[in-house]
């Protein structure tokens, strides 16, 4: 299979007030692959990820220069509809944050917002995506109980189902397993490997082994700068830059 670029980042710089969080990043995120963004904490991984769906917009005093384009459209174009852009991307955050409503309503939230009202259609969607995230069997009898009653691992799979239910093209994971126990993490990782056949996945992770297990493509950031990027095998086996070599050996933490 050939690699198509799904998200194209060109000369992206992000400032929080006077502080520059990302410095002149240019990178191509391949379609229907898992891309891992790695690097020590505070290096701008999450900022890069949240630039993709423009969640950084709502941070006070943020400034952005450069360009990110998805399927050729610049996402910073003031004319684009941010809600449509965000609908194309499902987000999994560090800890699961179920919405304050039932399991069913959590999954149905996105579709309802985007105009689906028919009960039968919603029922189908909820069932489908709960199965897709391997949660259906565990919750089918208590769909209408509060989502906060689920375990953290289940909540994270619920958040995955909630994100998938708006039919995105891209899944963004911001250290999605950092709050989970090993078994629950493994389930999410397995899910990602299945889902990459249909979705472009971008995962921020500080767990190197997870990057090795999952990634097809690796982006290594260090203090806001892009140090190295390339196919996972190349980056992990024969990193070109000294910083990358050091990080992969675990010297820089």
């Amino acid at each position: 299979m050939e690699n198509h670029t799904h998200i194209r980042v060109r000369e992206l710089s992000v400032y929080y007030g006077r502080e520059q969080a990302l410095k002149n990043i240019s990178v191509d995120i391949p379609e229907k692959r898992i891309t891992a963004i790695i690097g020590p904490s505070g290096c701008g991984k999450t900022t890069l990820l949240k630039s993709f769906n423009r969640l950084i917009d709502s941070i006070d005093g943020v400034r952005v220069s450069g360009e990110i384009s998805m399927n050729g459209d610049n996402i910073f174009n003031p004319k684009i509809d941010v809600t449509l852009l965000r609908k194309k991307m499902g987000l999994l955050s560090q800890r699961p944050h179920p919405l304050p409503m039932s399991i069913y309503d959590n999954v149905a939230y996105g579709p309802r917002i985007h105009g689906i009202r028919k009960k039968r259609k919603l029922d189908q969607i909820v069932e489908h995506y709960l199965k897709e995230s391997s949660l259906w069997e565990e919750v089918r009898d208590r769909l209408h109980t509060p989502a906060s009653g689920l375990s953290v691992g289940q909540q994270q799979r619920l958040c995955l189902a909630r994100g998938l239910a708006v039919e995105p093209e891209i899944i963004l994971g911001d250290e999605p397993t950092s709050a989970l126990d090993p078994t629950a993490s493994q389930r999410i990782e397995e899910k990602f490997l299945q889902l990459k056949a249909r979705y472009t996945i971008v995962v921020v992770t500080h767990i190197l082994r997870q990057a090795v297990r999952l990634a097809d493509y690796v982006v290594f950031l260090y203090l806001g700068e892009l140090i190295e990027h390339g196919p996972a095998e190349e980056v992990f086996k024969s990193p070109k830059k000294e910083l990358t070599q050091g990080y992969i050996k675990g010297v820089i933490v």
């Binding site: 769906n53 969640l55 709502s58 006070d60 809600t83 449509l84 965000r86 609908k87 991307m89 499902g90 987000l91 955050s93 800890r95 944050h97 919405l99 304050p100 409503m101 939230y109 996105g110 917002i113 985007h114 509060p146 989502a147 906060s148 009653g149 958040c159 909630r162 994100g163 708006v166 963004l172």
Partner: protein, 297 residues
Amino acid sequence: MQKLQIIQDRVARQVMFALAAFAGLIVFLMAFGLFVRSRPILESFPLFELLSSSSWHPLKGEFGLFPFLLGTLWVTGVSIVVAVPFSLLCAIHLSEYATRRICEWVKPLIDLLAGIPSVVYGICGVLIIVPLIKNHLAPLFGTFSTGYTVLAGGLVLAVMVFPIIIHVALEVFSSVPYEVREASLALGATKWQTVKLVVLRKAMPGIIAAIVLGISRAFGETMAVLMVAGNVARVPKSVFDPAYPLPALIANNYGEMMSVPLYDSALLLASLVLLLVVVFFNILSRFVLIHVEKGIQ
């Protein structure tokens, strides 16, 4: 030396316990005291008659508290109907939309509102709201009014209740984790959808608590209402009628005409009723909170 410190520790602990216990007991002591002093009138008339009779003629020995109860309810009701939407929208704006710089300016100003003495509110009410109702609002609805009305009391109270509801609501909104909003936005919800469907829902128990706090304040507020509500011992039939709320009754009359038999007992019964109503509302709010918390999450 060692021993002295141990004694100090023990004494300090017991003194603090006593103080804490006393603080907790004050409500009961006050209720008990009021009850004892209102016994004479309770022995002379059945409670139901006192609360449901509309005739207040102390000189004739008639002590119907019904007009005052309703006066309180009307004024409080108007104030809440006005204050809740205003203050909630204001709090939503400050917490979800306004930039930090605006918040830093506006929040202290709103908190300042809470510290203004109620006499000042009363004066402003007399000078601004009363003439406004008399000259503009009442004619607009085709009625005559002196301006000293339920509406005037309610509006003045509403302004006094704003800062309380806004302050508590802001605290509640800021306790909703940012990531929950982010989760909603990331699904393609607009800001307003996120506020309406997620933030308000998550904050609902706290908002109810804020409103009940506002109601309690409105119930007990005396001076400002007394100055603008008209103080006529009749059951109000519309917002353009005067009202005579319980606190105004007590403040206006206690200490005067005490030679009239049972008069002071009647006023203390009014105080007791006021106290019980506020306690009742607080308990009610607890129940609502528990119920709502179970429903959502």
